[in-house]
């Protein structure tokens, strides 16, 4: 999934699109290394907030990964349990990016 996300982020750079992660890894040192090795350039929230509440609980994440797609109007457009196949993801993201450009 990460290689595809990387190419999606690169392809849509300069367009009104952003990929934001909510990451649930627990070992900060290992995570730092994994991020570098996998060239993860996009920003992620730490799932566990400082006050102890996990973001994923609020967003009723029943399994990982879960993806939400939010339109430029701020409305939630789609949700996937598990990663959708790359062509499905591309199609849905591009549809919304086009809508954002045509606003």
């Amino acid at each position: 999934m990460i290689p595809h996300e990387r190419s999606l982020v690169n392809r849509l750079s300069g367009k009104p699109f952003v990929l934001i992660g909510v990451n649930s890894d627990k070992e900060p040192e290992q995570l730092k290394k994994d991020l570098k090795d996998n060239q993860v350039t996009w920003r992620s929230f730490q799932n566990q907030r400082k006050d102890g509440t996990p973001i994923a609980d609020e967003w009723s994440v029943q399994g990982w990964p879960t993806l939400y797609l939010i339109g430029h109007d701020g409305k939630i457009k789609k949700k996937w349990l598990g990663s959708p196949r790359p062509e499905v993801l591309d199609r849905e993201v591009e549809k919304l990016v086009q809508a954002a450009n045509g606003k």
């Binding site: 649930s24 994994d34 990964p65 939400y68 701020g74 409305k75 939630i76």
Partner: protein, 321 residues
């Protein structure tokens, strides 16, 4: 598709020793050569007996270590049995037992390639079904194309459907583009020819998580219409409901209707459907404005979802794990 066998002990050692030609504990004086047909029956009945005794012993074991040890021992014996009787159908079953129930043991690792070889050579679907029944499909994906080819030549066979379901289970997680395609083709075939069959009860759960939701939706609709079994229909309606809930704003109404119907029925899915209905009515349903997220990034710097207002946002709950 099930395999019962769990369970050994006292009688087991004796039982299996008798299976090895030449070490017949019961008739020490008799030469090992016997009537092949009788030999076959004798070996089978000993195998069944050994399984029964193993089950009993496993049931009596009190700790996980004990159970693990019993499985390890029984797997070793399965392997010996198969090696001693390579041409007996029991060999396939014994190898399958070791692979399916004693994963990670040395015997299971040795049994796996032997078993694959044997399964590839089986042409009779009845026997094939027996051999594959207890095997974790996921560990046998590379057998799936062979099995699928054999079944497709004989789709009228009684075991064709359960075998196709096995092929689907073995290719569910892909592993290669070929296996992913085989999964899709197999489900297409099952849905086209056998949508009314009871064995398709496993499909709704798989389809609900498919990486191509439109394809899954098509099949779930068909299954909920064509399958006469009430519980299969309920499962199909539940999965279809969850799929539509995540599809788009326009599908929310239909999703709600489907999930309400499931929530009103007895059964374990009702509780799940109620939770899904809460989602549909909650603040993060499709079509609702995304609620703010305040948190820290991985460097500990504070940031907010609303920092990216006006952009399309893919919010990805992920991890390396």
């Amino acid at each position: 598709m099930k395999r019962i066998i769990f369970g050994v002990a006292a009688g087991l050692t004796l039982g299996l020793v008798m299976l090895v030609p030449g070490v017949r504990a019961d008739e020490p004086g008799k030469p090992a050569k016997a009537d092949p047909a009788k030999e076959l029956v004798a070996i089978r009945s000993e195998w069944l007996k050994a399984q029964g005794e193993f089950s009993k012993a496993l049931g009596a074991a009190t700790t996980n270590e004990e159970r693990q040890q019993l499985r390890r021992e029984f797997a070793d014996r399965c392997l010996k049995l198969a090696e001693a009787n390579p041409d007996n159908p029991v060999a396939v079953e014994a190898l399958a037992w070791a692979v399916g129930n004693a994963r990670g043991t040395a015997a299971a690792q040795k049994a796996q390639p032997l078993l694959k070889e044997k399964i590839a050579a089986i042409t009779d679907l009845e026997q094939l079904h027996k051999a594959l029944g207890g095997l974790p499909g996921s560990a046998f994906g590379d057998l799936a194309p062979t099995v699928a080819a054999k079944v497709k030549k004989n789709l009228e066979h009684l075991k064709a459907v359960p075998l196709l379901v096995w092929v689907a289970s073995a290719t569910l997680y892909g592993g290669s583009p070929e296996l992913a395609r085989l999964y899709n083709d197999t489900v297409d075939l099952l849905m086209e020819r056998f949508a009314e069959r009871r064995e398709l009860a496993v499909l709704p759960n798989w389809l609900a998580r498919d990486d191509n939701p439109e394809w899954a939706e098509k099949h779930l609709r068909r299954l909920s219409e064509k399958n006469p079994a009430a519980d299969v229909q309920t499962m199909a309606r539940y999965s279809l409901g969850t799929l539509l809930k995540n599809k788009d704003e326009a599908s929310q109404q239909e999703a709600e209707k489907l999930l309400q119907s499931v929530a009103a029925e007895p059964g374990r899915l009702a509780e799940q459907a109620k939770r899904d209905l809460e989602d549909i009515r909650g603040p993060r349903a499709l079509g609702k404005p995304a609620p703010e997220i305040n948190g820290d990034d991985l460097d500990g710097k504070a940031f907010n979802l609303s920092d990216y207002k006006g952009k399309v946002v893919l919010l990805d709950f992920w991890g390396f794990w």
